[in-house]
């Protein structure tokens, strides 16, 4: 509650929060099927129809309603982004805590493995994973999650290492608290702030990557809808039907902008050190 108030008194947090909120509502409506038209329905007579009162954002080559497909695409992109970031965060927390807590051999092995993953440019690693599993929605989820896991692991391990040596952890141990209790209560609670910031920025990156993979034809497969896929389809038609390019393009931009703004605001709020330095 306090955090929400802080976000709304922060100028970029207000805008970012509003955008993210709006997109989440659109995504839910898209999932529930509450769209202006059936996103898969082909209105053959109205192919490449310009935007008007019936088709708010026009129709595509097959006569499908762009606005409805856009809503479905946003929910698709959000599902992929949220699922992959959730997976990456959980994996990163477990690995980061294990590395920090057990130290020694555990730490060395886990962190070197993360170094190896970080040695690949992100999109290349994602392509490699897709080559192994084959393209599809859940492959993109996995690929994005694996790419982002090392970053979460590092975000968790650093602070966890310094927290581990703090007096309150020693005190908890003397009281006989179990290892899991200390890890979940004492360490995790103190990691919430850096993790929140990282999760928000990761979501922006997840949206971007999902759109990129779908654009290449390696993510969401037709006839399902995705923002990247819609843009890929618009390429050869943009002069004839610019609405096919402009609406999905702007929708991706604003969605990513929302998460970036929110992430910046959260960093300002949760980490006073960077307050004055964030653009």
């Amino acid at each position: 509650m306090q955090l929400l108030r802080a976000i709304f008194s922060h100028s970029s947090g207000r805008i970012g929060g509003a955008i993210v909120g709006l997109y989440i509502i659109i995504a839910i409506l898209g999932l529930l099927g509450i769209t202006p038209h059936d996103p898969l329905m082909q209105f053959r007579v109205d192919r490449l129809h310009a935007p008007d009162a019936t088709y708010w954002m026009g129709t595509d080559l097959f006569g499908r309603d762009v606005a409805s497909r856009l809503m479905l695409g946003i929910s698709q992109s959000f599902i992929v982004a949220f699922a992959s970031v959730a997976l990456a965060a959980v994996a990163g927390i477990v690995l980061g805590l294990a590395a920090a807590w057990f130290g020694g051999w555990w730490d060395g092995t886990i962190m070197r493995f993360m170094d190896v993953l970080l040695a690949f440019p992100a999109i290349l690693l994602a392509l490699l994973i897709i080559a192994i599993v084959g393209p599809g929605t859940w492959t993109s989820v996995m690929a994005i999650a694996i790419v982002y896991t090392p970053i979460f692991t590092r975000v968790v391990r650093g602070p966890a290492l310094s927290l581990k040596t703090r007096d309150f952890v020693d005190a908890a141990r003397t009281f006989g608290s179990s290892r899991n209790y200390i890890l979940t209560r004492h360490l995790m609670l103190n990691l919430v702030a850096p993790l929140t910031v990282q999760v928000t920025l990761a979501l922006a990156w997840g949206l971007l990557t999902e759109a990129g993979l779908s654009f290449l034809g390696l993510g969401t497969q037709p006839p399902a809808s995705s923002l990247g896929l819609m843009l890929a389809d618009s390429r050869n038609l943009m002069e004839m039907a610019p609405w096919l390019l402009i609406f999905p393009g702007i929708a991706i931009m604003i969605g990513i902008l929302g998460f970036n703004l929110l992430g910046d605001a959260l960093r300002d709020i949760l980490d006073p050190k960077t307050r004055r330095s964030v653009a």
């Binding site: 970029s12 070197r112 493995f113 170094d115 190896v116 993953l117 040695a119 690949f120 440019p121 992100a122 999109i123 290349l124 392509l127 490699l128 994973i129 897709i130 080559a131 192994i132 084959g134 922006a204 971007l208 759109a211 990129g212 654009f215 290449l216 990247g228 843009l231 618009s234 390429r235 943009m238 002069e239 610019p242 390019l245 402009i246 393009g249 991706i252 931009m253 604003i254 990513i256 902008l257 970036n260 703004l261 004055r276 330095s277 964030v278 653009a279």
Partner: protein
């Protein structure tokens, strides 16, 4: 232990890890290499023919032997033969690399030429409308996927000005520099736009941090002109994070810009990897991924070294 020494020591270790990961992941791709190569004709092979082919490509051995052979070859620059190109993998990669390198360099020049002045300008006008304008622009730049930028740019150029970006046959720089730059400018701008946004943000925040430092206050109190305070006293220190960011970003770009190359039909590394994956050219995927990861790591290592040179605190202390 000294930071640099430790950094140099882990380099071969991580590289070895990368090679193992690449090798193993390629072998996890479903289907065997022979079938991938011959398609349905693989079904016509007699067991003897299949065995002969497997022996020819060295895949009749166990994984460990295969890996050892591949690694030993890779160290000597032999990455195997590409099935789709019928040429040594390294030759295919080196044919594509100049374009990728040029694109990465051009994008970095564009990013620094726009981002650095914009960031410094915004920092000196902190919280004024001009600062806000720069920040909004940078935020939008950072939130625009490069394919959206590229498609919008093509649309605006073709519909608004009636010009189509030069595509089709690619001209190497040395053959015809002007024609080459005409082909490269739009892709470079596309990649440079988001890159410039990142440079703007980091140089602004670094500059702001430093402008509030005591030594700057001292210089100002001594009556050093504002211009000199910024260019002489503040800028050199503010450049440190900019160098890091640009280096890391440059390293990414050396891996090939898959999407942008695809949109502008440029024969760079990124598109080659994508095609190799789609066509299951295992030797080419394996070799190029190794090549790209090696480049990426070398650039990152150089960035770390540059960082240590620029900032003595890192050279002396640990990580």
């Amino acid at each position: 232990m000294n930071y640099l020494a430790r950094r140099l020591m882990t380099f071969p270790l991580v590289m070895l890890g990368v090679s193992i990961l690449v090798f193993v992941s390629i072998r996890l791709v479903p289907g065997d290499a022979i079938t991938a190569m011959l398609g349905t004709e693989a079904g016509l092979l007699t067991p003897d023919q299949r065995a002969a082919l497997e022996a020819y490509f060295g895949i009749d051995q166990g994984w460990f032997t295969q890996y050892w052979r591949w690694l030993a070859g890779a160290v000597q620059g032999d990455l195997g033969v590409s099935v789709t190109f019928g040429k040594p993998v390294l030759d295919v990669i080196l044919e594509r690399f100049p374009l990728t390198l040029e694109l990465a360099l051009l994008s970095m020049v564009i990013a620094l030429a726009i981002g650095l002045p914009a960031g410094i300008f915004a920092a000196t006008r902190n919280e004024k409308p001009s600062d806000l304008a720069v920040r909004i622009f940078a935020m939008i730049g950072q939130s625009t996927p490069n394919f959206v930028f590229a498609l919008l740019a093509i649309y605006v150029l073709s519909v608004g000005f009636g010009v189509l970006p030069a595509m089709g046959e690619f001209t190497p720089f040395l053959e015809n520099p002007l024609r080459n730059l005409g082909q490269m400018i739009l892709p470079a701008l596309t990649l440079g736009f988001a890159f410039a946004a990142a440079v703007t943000r980091i140089s602004r925040s670094a500059m702001l941090d430093i402008l509030s430092d005591d030594y700057i206050r001292t210089a100002r109190a001594k009556g050093v002109p504002a211009r000199k305070v910024i260019w002489r006293h503040a800028l050199p220190n503010a450049l440190i994070p900019v160098v890091t960011l640009s280096g890391v970003e440059f390293g990414y770009l050396l891996g090939g810009a898959v999407i942008v190359e695809q949109i502008f039909a440029l024969p760079g590394l990124g598109r080659m990897v994508l095609d190799a994956i789609l066509q299951r050219d295992y030797a080419l995927v394996q070799g190029s991924v190794l090549f790209i990861a090696l480049n990426f790591m070398i650039v990152n290592l150089l960035v770390d070294l540059a960082y240590a040179v620029l900032d003595p605190r890192i050279r002396l202390g640990g990580k």
